[in-house]
């Protein structure tokens, strides 16, 4: 197994775990009110989006270079 394959595997598993956890946290905090809660929700949502990007990069859908 190559180094790149290991990195992609780690990134894939990590992206799924972190993405799901971030999404669950976002869901749990959805009803929270106040400026800090609102900003946290926006940032958590963007972080979950980042996990999707990392996941797609790990499976070579995004960032695939010739």
């Amino acid at each position: 197994m190559t180094e790149v394959a290991i990195e992609r595997g780690v990134a894939l598993v990590g992206a799924i775990l972190v993405g799901i956890t971030a999404t669950v946290q976002l869901k749990n905090d959805w009803a929270a009110r106040g400026l800090d809660a609102t900003v946290t929700k926006v940032l958590l949502g963007l972080m979950a989006f980042g996990c999707i990007l990392a996941l797609l990069a790990a499976v070579n859908v995004l960032g695939a270079r010739a």
Binding site: Q25, V39, M47
Partner: protein, 210 residues
């Protein structure tokens, strides 16, 4: 009770939980919170200026990656960056857990999650250091090199400051500076760390995916 809680902010709910409603603290906390969010917004503008410079330079380039001395520069290593990104995003989740545990007075768990956040932050910095030394281009090698080192360097500096910030917050928390209902510093630290995570989402996309 549900109706009474319905219009309260998250902080007010926690204050009620510990029977520690302090109007003066609440008022100053709100002012400080607005100030901190404005600081994050100004930092966002700082990053935006560099990001738009990079986008402009890239769109103006005849080829990307650009050529240097007749050879086209290599793309950045997406797979390693994906792992490093997950390390940083994971630290955002652990920091969120740390704050949630503080709100529920689970000090041991708070310390554990905070230490995990700091370790992951240091891990990300180590990954960045590794990438800087193995990326194969220099700061002065075309707009690609200068943009990459400027933006990732600026972000890495923010991560480093964040690690120092969280370490200080951890020391303060264990010295009794914060209570179950008065913990604005921890809230600000969490917001800062999430912000640093989100900036990396943009940089990850721009340098490794686009």
């Amino acid at each position: 009770m549900a109706t009474a809680v319905g219009h309260l902010s998250d902080h007010e709910i926690v204050a009620q939980r510990y029977n520690d409603v302090d109007p003066v603290y609440g008022e100053t906390r709100d002012i400080r919170l607005v100030g901190f969010v404005l600081f994050l917004f100004s930092d966002c503008i700082l990053f935006s200026s560099f990001i738009f410079s990079y986008v402009f330079l890239r769109l103006q380039a005849p080829a990307w990656p650009p050529f240097l001395n007749g050879h086209q520069l290599p793309w950045f290593d997406t797979s390693f960056a994906a792992v490093n990104s997950i390390v940083l995003f994971g630290s955002g989740v652990t920091m969120h857990f740390a704050l949630e545990n503080w709100k529920h007075l689970n000090k041991a768990k708070f310390n554990g999650w905070l230490i995990a956040t700091i370790v992951l932050g240091l891990g990300f910095l180590g990954g960045q250091a590794h990438e800087w030394t193995t990326v194969g281009i220099n700061w002065t090698d075309t707009t690609m090199g200068s943009s990459f080192f400027t933006l990732t360097g600026l972000h890495g500096f923010h991560v480093f400051i964040g690690v120092c910030y969280l370490t200080i917050l951890g020391i303060q928390a264990n010295r009794g500076v914060y209570t179950g209902s008065k913990y604005f510093g921890l809230t600000a630290g969490t917001l800062y760390w999430h912000f640093v995570d989100v900036i990396w989402v943009a940089l990850f996309f721009l340098f490794y995916i686009w």
